[in-house]
Subunit: 360 residues, 2 copies
DNA sequence: ACGCTCCATGTGACCGTTCACATCGCGAGA
DNA sequence: TCTCGCGATGTGAACGGTCACATGGAGCGT
């Protein structure tokens, strides 16, 4: 009989590692330190430190001996001690809103992975709302941690402004900024993506296209809206005012339902896949069909989008790549790295089945 | 003209805080320390430390003076120094697989939030695959951080076993364990949830029900499968072997397509919403309809599920609550806290439109 | 053969906290 | 009045690393 799945807590038997006490000099209750290793290896603590830091001038033989003792004693460097003296925490902070969404979550995972590969730790702080207090709180939390770099995945204007006021004293990256500092800019061209989506609709013959945008405050939302308007303008298609949403499928649904009471459009470009999903739901609820009656394009290409009904035409963003470049930028690897890293991440249009010719 | 949305890096003008130098004794280049505060406030460093730690026997007047100086100097305690001497990092580690999924991401966010409220930091390590090496790597990374508690959101048997071998020396919680340690167990009854879903299908008249399970190794998958089999058995419905999937919508799609070539069933219970989505896609691709021809139930209730076509009947899990209880357990708050915390989190059946009467 | 440089290593101080213990009044019980 | 206890504060030593500097040979040009 299998017991129910559950959460289990295991308490350690004791805080100190119960080393099998292999040879001499058991560490006196505490975890072994650099000096314990030194004593056993018959060298000075400094030599051990040098081994730890890959100092060039250490005899291979000595190095090996120290390494062996380290293994034997199960020595682990004390990060706090190191951080104290070097005043470097080797920790990156992530300030993130909506970390449960696919995009941010993907970027976070990529950031963590890249940071770890570079020997850095990652500490997160989620902000529930984007008011100044939440932001300041989250930031203070990370700051108290002594972070060396900050990634802000809460791409709202307000956050950006608050950040500026708070006079951050560490290098930081915001995923989607207003581009105020072109010198340190690595473009992720949301505008191009939105134009791609819009052009696709126009090319298929649509002339009455609504844009379901993200929240007013969000930089991504603004950029996608901009791309939409730009493309519509350059193709001389009359535009209607975008509808400001909140990224959720729920909103897409209600907005779609509202829109359909008038039905003066043939296509909708939603600023993310969730809202697109909601719209499609509303369309079907109204007894209509996608793409026969209404064409729809999303943004992000979440993994589920390929299985929506119909499979959603959308714009793919490489969130993971974004995360990786973030870290690269923060750690300054870019200064002498391949220049293409500084180039633009170009979103890609993924054509599926949610766009057709206009019904009228 | 709005510039393109982009990633911006801001470099601090200088590492040290450029304090406006309000009164006396500018900190000599470094960030102000406890002794700087002490000097300006005219007390000993120890008194400052006591203020920091809310020691009871400090004269209110003295305390206030110290507090004022702290504010004036923009003093921030040095976490590394504190961690060094107390050998407490006040950091919780999260070892997580599939952190881009809705469930884990929600739990992580809740954990972070609860931890922060308790004055703890959270550090994450994602493991890409669940092989022993990845796990050991991730764990070593967190361990090197000096974490005081560990949450494992990679509920695979293998991870659990590897963990056991690695002889963790900190308290840890695994979200979904095998329940080997009933003493410290807080049930999240996946089995009950799966039974709920299965019973719902049976009550609607279904007798040929397939179960699209998660990966073999996953504890959640196992529990849900167990619940499915238990319920089927207790209702005397003949069972077929569950199909082992990988949680993705893609898998659901292909499995569904495969299954439909025979079509000896009227309902499918998928172990998560993504797979359910994939199955629904396959059903429609075969020219059939949900729930007219095939009924489907999912698991998790991701926010999008309400807008699938048709809206998905599923089992809701309170991921956030799970995260909160995790932290509560880890921090030991539970020992004297309200007992209902130790109770079971009961999943809830959310009935929507993906289940109907069987077609034959 | 002498001094110079460089390699391999050792010595002691220091990073910013907390901890253990000492000190100094002051009010209360004898 | 004396001492005991405790409240409020100070003193110096850890904690476990790294840094700056010192030391003692080996190699080498002159």
């Amino acid at each position: 009989m299998v017991t129910p799945a559950c959460v289990t807590v295991n308490m350690p038997r004791s805080i100190e590692v119960t080393v099998p006490e292999p040879s001499q000099e058991p560490p006196k209750g505490r975890a072994p330190s650099i000096r314990d290793v030194a004593r056993v290896a018959g060298v000075s603590h400094q030599t051990v430190s040098r081994v730890l830091n890959h100092h060039p001038s250490i005899r291979p033989e000595t190095k090996q001996r120290v390494l062996d003792v380290m293994a034997e004693l199960q020595y682990t460097p004390n990060r706090a001690a190191r951080a104290l003296v070097t005043s470097r925490s080797r920790t990156l902070g992530i300030l993130s809103a909506s970390s449960t969404h696919y995009g941010p979550a993907s970027s976070i995972a990529a950031i963590e992975s890249a940071a770890r590969a570079a020997g850095y730790w990652v500490s997160t702080a989620n902000i529930e709302s984007s008011d100044a207090v939440s932001i300041a709180d989250g930031l203070a939390h990370l700051r108290a941690q002594g972070i060396e770099g900050l990634v802000v995945i809460a791409p709202q204007m307000r956050v950006f402004d608050t950040l500026a006021q708070l006079s951050i004293d560490v290098p930081y990256v915001t995923l989607q900024s207003t581009g105020r500092d072109p010198e340190h800019t690595l473009s992720v061209d949301q505008i191009a993506g939105a134009r791609l989506a819009t052009r696709h609709l126009i090319e298929r013959g649509h002339r009455s296209i609504y844009h379901l945008a993200g929240p007013q405050d969000w930089i991504e939302a603004e950029a996608r809206m901009r791309g939409f308007l730009d493309e519509m303008g350059s193709q001389d298609v009359p535009t209607t005012a975008p509808i400001l949403g909140d990224w959720t499928a729920d909103f897409g649904f209600y907005a779609g339902r509202e829109l359909l009471t008038v039905r003066d459009f043939t296509a909708i470009f939603a600023s993310n896949d969730q809202m697109a999903l909601g719209v499609m739901h509303a369309v079907r609820d109204a007894g209509l069909e996608v793409p026969r009656d209404v064409s729809i394009v999303g943004f992000d290409d979440i993994p589920e989008a390929a299985h929506f009904w119909p499979p959603l035409t959308t714009v793919r963003q490489d969130f993971a790549e974004l995360g990786r470049r973030c870290v690269a930028l923060l750690l300054g690897d870019l200064d002498d790295a391949a220049p293409e890293y500084r180039g633009t991440i170009v979103p890609e249009l993924i054509v599926r089945d949610s766009v057709g010719a206009p019904a009228f």
